[in-house]
Amino acid sequence: MALATRTERSPSLIGSVWRSTVGKKTIMAVSGALMLGYLIAHLAGNLKVFFGADDFNGYAHWLRTIGAPILHHGWFLWLVRPVLLAAVVLHGITAYQLSRRDRAARPHKYVHQRQRQSYATRTMRWGGVILTLFIVWHILDLTTLTVNERAEEGHPYENLVASFNTWYGNTIYITAMVAVGLHVRHGLWSAAQTLGMNSARSDRALKATANGLALVMTCGFISIPVSVMLGLVD
């Protein structure tokens, strides 16, 4: 009898990743890291608001000219948007599926309840929901300008000031930025753990990085509406 000499085919990479909990968390970690990277760049750009309308509007214009002349006006942004959308959608779907699974794995609550996890850890799921709703609001407010009453196309600085001159604009934004900080605090360290980058040596450094970045992001983003409220930016 002849022996089979062909090597067996492994199941497809995407299929096996999607089927396993560890694989799904890898997708969460990578999509989260992608969004975090975007957010850091977004914060750096936003802080230009402190250098005045010309700087800020000039920066907004420059974003549309990235990649010129090979990319047409605004194409760079349109290349980034589907990637970000895919990251948000994949992050959300995997979070939903994993959460459903987690709840099913612990159907009975303990009679004697103890609160042990940190606030950031406990609020990951609801924080994610808040952030999803905020993204929708934020795009309607400052990209499509649908809900921003005094907005004008092509004047991002003035639109920003207009949005932060409303109480609801400030409330929504500040709430969401606190949620971002909490989400990053647990999420960054978790992503490192999921991607296998954590070790006994790097654990403290990673936690410090996550906490530091979370604080910088929340304070950085919130400084903008606060400055508008205080009249430092107008």
Partner: protein, 252 residues
């Protein structure tokens, strides 16, 4: 000392259970927690009641048989197994809540006894090495650096008690599975099954209905053997490496 115990009583796997209150007196602070339950059971038997069922075996903290959630903490307030928890950690007049491990992968059989055979099936799917039978190989034929041996041993300390699953808000078995995977994957003897081991064991873990890891760290805090949380990171790294390499599963 005198204690009020509120214990989960459940006659069988499909019966409804309820927290039942018992008063016990004459408890010495030198008793172990299990001896305190033995004391209660003797009184229950004398009174014609059914004793509280709980798992136990070695009673010296090395077998992993015992385990119950005491006041919401797996194995109680000390970082040890329930059998090595002593009553001196409680005070006279305390009310103590005693519940079984809670996870859908660990169904309650009776009272505080749960079915932990899901762990056996995880180990059966990859927690072994293939070695030729016959005379034992020369011990120094395969050198293992001290640091690697220590790492393997740190993870080999897992006794499979299930406290990690009980403590995890998601009923996840990641700490247990990672201890088993890391223990063998870092050693040269575990090398031939390095990829199939992690893939198969995670597949089995998922199939048994354990939840996923949300990095709350509850498991490592509850673990009586101190399996570190970064063992989970190491297992994740092994999983990604095996997946990218296209490693074969043995169980597919």
């Amino acid at each position: 000392m005198r204690l009020t115990l509120r214990i989960w009583r459940q006659h069988g796997p499909d019966e409804p259970g309820v927290m039942t209150t018992y008063e016990v007196d004459g408890i010495s602070e030198d008793m172990s927690f299990l001896e305190m339950l033995d004391h209660l059971n003797e009184e229950l038997i004398l009174g014609g009641d059914e004793p509280v069922a709980f798992d136990h075996d070695c009673r010296e903290g090395i077998c992993g048989a015992c385990g119950m959630v005491i006041n919401g903490q797996a194995h109680g307030p000390e970082r040890t197994t329930t059998c090595q928890l002593h009553m001196r950690h409680f005070t006279d007049g305390d009310t103590i809540d005693i519940e079984p491990w809670r996870a859908s992968a660990f169904p309650v059989i009776k009272d505080l006894v749960v079915d932990r055979s899901a762990f056996d099936r995880i180990v059966g799917s990859g927690g072994f090495i293939s070695a030729p039978t016959g005379s034992a190989p020369e011990a120094h034929a395969t050198p293992v650096p001290k640091a690697v041996a220590d790492l393997a041993f740190e993870n080999a300390e897992c006794i499979g008690c299930g406290a990690c699953v009980a403590a995890c808000p998601n009923g996840s078995a990641m700490l247990f599975t990672s201890a088993k995977v890391v223990h063998l994957n870092v050693l040269p003897q575990g090398g031939p099954e390095r990829e199939s081991r992690v893939l198969d064991m995670i597949d089995t873990m998922d199939a048994e209905g354990f939840g996923g890891c949300t990095n709350t760290g509850e498991c490592a805090t509850a673990c009586p053997k101190g399996i570190p949380l970064h063992s989970i990171a190491t297992m994740n790294r092994e999983y990604l490496r095996a997946t990218i390499k296209g490693g074969q599963r043995r169980n597919s």
